[in-house]
């Protein structure tokens, strides 16, 4: 049962990291143009910034 002391915080932490990453993507407008993002990956231009 000792293992629970590690596993529960770790699982919560990992979930939290996912949540923070999601909040970041919403805040930086990454869901504004889903269709365009799907197409842009096909273009040869290097595009290193999300839409501002």
């Amino acid at each position: 049962m000792q293992i629970l002391a590690y596993l529960i915080p770790i699982s919560l932490f990992l979930g939290g990291v996912g949540l923070v990453a999601f909040v970041y993507t919403v805040r930086s407008n990454q869901y504004d143009d889903p269709e365009g993002d799907a197409q842009r990956i096909l273009s040869g231009q290097y595009d290193d910034k999300p839409k501002t």
């Binding site: 939290g16 949540l19 842009r40």
Partner: protein
């Protein structure tokens, strides 16, 4: 409100600020302009790089970004770069582009409410996954201290999440209670609160059952339904706003002989406004200078252009055809007849919002039902065991199990699927209950001009002219932008006629075009000017020298898909009626051509509305399709209404559905889709009922463990979502 309170001479606060802004601009370098362009043709990766590249190469442009989802390009550029320039650049690159009014668009530029919901949904999802993991350990046999520890950790995750993610429900439920109504959110909130309170109580007494996972799953599923609902509306709203933004409100003001282009909102009563040929009147007023012809078809339904000369009154929305006109404004902005009509429509619309949707009807039955059931089971168990804790536990289980996950998802999932399907066919659903009302339609009323017909005339008697006569007419017509001239040009070019060589071609605004052919005067234009007897039908007259004038006859060309739409509607057993403000002859011809048996001609706007009202009073459910100002009252009076995107803003405001393309053929499809959508919604309600019939007795009997609640809830939500997907 602040603008109204301010003692200002001009109509809007922006005008007051304008001189200050101008002074500032002189001092500092001009700020960057943000320009929005609608580019309807972009659809692939290559389009994106072509459009962005073309825009970025234009001098003065700092950055350009295409949004493929909205088919829009947003450009940051120096202040001197104009949208018209950029549209031209794109036209050269092969893409049609239109300027959008940034002010109208700003509301949907970043969708704040949608993001807020998405954030709450994500938090609820994160929390319910973690709590579910802990719950699974409990269900699979964690005992005593371990179980309590897991319950406390669940509580620690669930409490803040429920407070944060459930906020939309609390707000809605509170608003409903404040107005002494019950809506779906009231039982939801009660179930959440009761589940959390009893779970906390159980946990503190180290009990076996806690419902943290159920409460979180409930919030998660319901937020998913809300978000779907929001997405559907947001897509419709942004497209509707884009339609409105396409009409950039600018006018040319003449001030002591100097012309300058200003925003329509800056115009005042008494200003002189120049309207060029092809332009739309921005104000109500009186013509003080110039001769031309006016196209009033959007306002009255008549297809024949009206002769315009100084002294004639004009209203906003009419189109100037041949010559420049100077107008003295007598009413501007909100006071124009166009705007007053739109306001009247808003009043008439509030009557339509009395329609209760299926979901509301279900909620009205449902909310008191579950509360009574839960209260009864509490009372019954208390009297049976005299144990408060057991009784409360069972009452909470009843509320959680009956909670309307399926109901909350049933309607949004179906309407999202249906409106997405209609959107791809070019129809935009603006009103939330439009689909349901559409499914009841049994009578379809069409307007003529601009709806069934394209509003552009077509030459019908080309064969009665010799090649020489046609050549002369073609040469005269090619120099003019009058719709009848353009129809002659089209017909002539299609027949391969070569224009005659004419000298001294000139257009006489309001009358026609004249020129010289080998010393003889030739004219194409109005009957009185050419010296002919006017006919009833839409016509233009050609005179060559002293020969008797001959008439070119025109008929309105049909809008694409009109024949198919009418035929399909009649096949589906609908009552098709044509009501128009145009002359009897024109309406009769069209009705015969389309096979419509019931038609009314020369109907005034009030007539139209009254006839539609009379049909509704007889118990018919009327779908009105119209585009003009003369239709707006009828559009608002009808059970459901559709207008094409080319319609006036006032008509689009009044209608529930906007046809984005020029094609009418999706209308019968829309009726079929809405009927099947309603069928799916009903099925979903049945699924939810069946599930309640099985689960509720279990809960009342005290057999519902948290595991059963979680299983039943997820199962019913997934079933209704899958059922909604069948609509595609």
């Amino acid at each position: 409100m602040t603008a109204a309170l301010r003692p200002s001479v001009s109509a809007c606060p922006a005008c007051d600020a304008a001189p200050a802004a101008a002074a500032l601009a002189d001092a500092a370098p001009l700020p960057d302009a943000r320009i929005a362009l609608s580019v309807p043709a972009v659809h692939c990766a290559a389009c994106i790089s072509t459009v962005e590249g073309a825009l970025a190469r234009h001098p003065g442009v700092k950055s350009a970004r295409v949004n493929l989802t909205l088919k829009r390009a947003s450009v940051e550029a120096d202040a001197e770069v104009s949208a018209a320039e950029l549209a031209e650049v794109l036209a050269k690159a092969g893409y049609e582009a239109h300027e959008l009014d940034a002010g109208t668009l700003s509301a949907t530029e970043n969708d704040k409410a949608g993001r807020d919901l998405l954030m709450r949904l994500a938090v609820a999802g994160f929390a319910s996954m973690n709590v579910m993991l802990l719950s699974i350990s409990v269900w699979s046999g964690a005992e005593a201290a371990t179980r309590d520890l897991f319950h406390w950790i669940s509580a620690a995750i669930a409490l803040p999440t429920i407070i944060f993610s459930g906020k939309p429900f609390y707000v809605h439920a509170w608003n409903a209670l404040k107005n002494r109504r019950l809506n779906m959110d009231v039982p939801i909130v009660l179930a959440i609160v009761l589940a959390v309170v009893t779970s906390l109580w159980e946990t503190s007494l180290s009990g076996e059952h806690a419902y943290f996972d159920a409460a979180l799953a409930l919030v998660f599923f319901l937020l998913a339904g809300r978000y779907l609902d929001h997405r559907t509306r947001a897509v419709a709203r942004s497209a509707a706003e884009e339609l409105a933004a396409l009409e950039v409100p600018r006018a040319t003001r003449v001030c002591e002989g100097v012309e300058d282009v200003v925003q329509v909102s800056e115009l005042n009563v008494g200003d002189l406004v120049l309207v060029k040929p092809g332009g739309r009147m921005p104000v109500d007023g009186e013509i003080v200078d110039g001769r031309s012809e006016l196209d009033r078809s959007l306002l009255t339904g008549e297809t024949l252009p009206v002769f315009a000369e100084p002294g004639l009154g004009v209203s906003a929305g009419e189109v100037n055809l041949t010559g420049p006109l100077v107008i003295r404004a007598s009413a501007v902005g909100e006071q124009t007849s166009l705007h007053r009509m739109a306001d009247l429509v808003a009043v008439a619309e509030s009557g339509r919002s009395n329609y209760t949707s299926l979901a509301d009807k279900a909620a009205k039955l449902y909310a008191p039902g579950v509360h009574i059931l839960s209260a009864l089971s509490f009372l019954g168990w208390y009297l049976y065991t005299f144990d408060m804790r057991t009784a409360l536990n069972i009452a909470a289980a009843v509320l959680i199990i009956t909670c309307p996950c399926a109901l909350g998802l049933a309607v949004p999932a179906v309407t999202t699927a249906a409106s997405g399907r209609l959107f791809r066919k070019g129809m935009l659903i603006k009103h939330s209950t439009a689909l349901e009302r559409m499914a009841q339609v049994d009578t379809v009323v069409f307007d003529k001009t601009g709806t069934l017909t394209a509003g552009a005339p077509e030459l019908v008697n080309a064969e009665t002219f010799s090649e020489e006569e046609f050549g002369v007419a073609l040469a005269l017509a090619m120099g003019s932008s009058h719709p009848l001239s353009q129809a002659i040009t089209h017909a002539g070019q299609a027949a391969g006629i070569r224009p005659a060589r004419l000298n001294e071609i000139e257009e006489v605004p309001g009358y026609g075009t004249q020129g010289q052919l080998e010393g003889r005067r030739v004219r194409l234009g109005r009957a009185s000017w050419v010296g002919a007897d006017a006919r009833e039908q839409t016509s233009a007259y050609l005179s060559i020298g002293d020969a008797a004038p001959k008439a070119f006859l025109f008929a309105d060309s049909l809008r694409a898909g009109a024949e198919e739409a009418v035929a399909a509607l009649k096949d589906a057993g609908m009552n098709v009626v044509l009501i128009s403000g145009d002359t009897t002859g024109a309406v009769e011809t069209l009705a015969e051509r389309l096979g419509i048996e019931r038609w009314v001609a020369e109907a005034l706007p009030e007539d139209k509305a009254m006839r539609v009202q009379a049909m509704s009073d007889k118990g018919q459910h009327v779908l009105m399709v119209g585009d003009g100002l003369n239709d707006t009252a009828a559009l608002a009076a009808a059970h459901v209404s559709i207008s094409p995107a080319s319609a006036l803003d006032a008509a689009r405001v009044a209608s529930d559905i906007v046809l984005l393309g020029g094609d009418l053929s999706p209308i019968p499809d829309a009726l079929v889709t809405s009927a099947s959508a309603i069928k799916r919604i009903r099925e979903n309600f049945q699924i939810a009922t069946v599930y309640n019939v099985i689960a509720v007795p279990l809960a009342v009997a005290g057999l519902a463990t948290p595991l059963i609640a979680a299983l039943a809830m997820s199962l019913s939500s997934i079933t209704v979502s899958l059922n909604a997907l069948r609509l595609r």
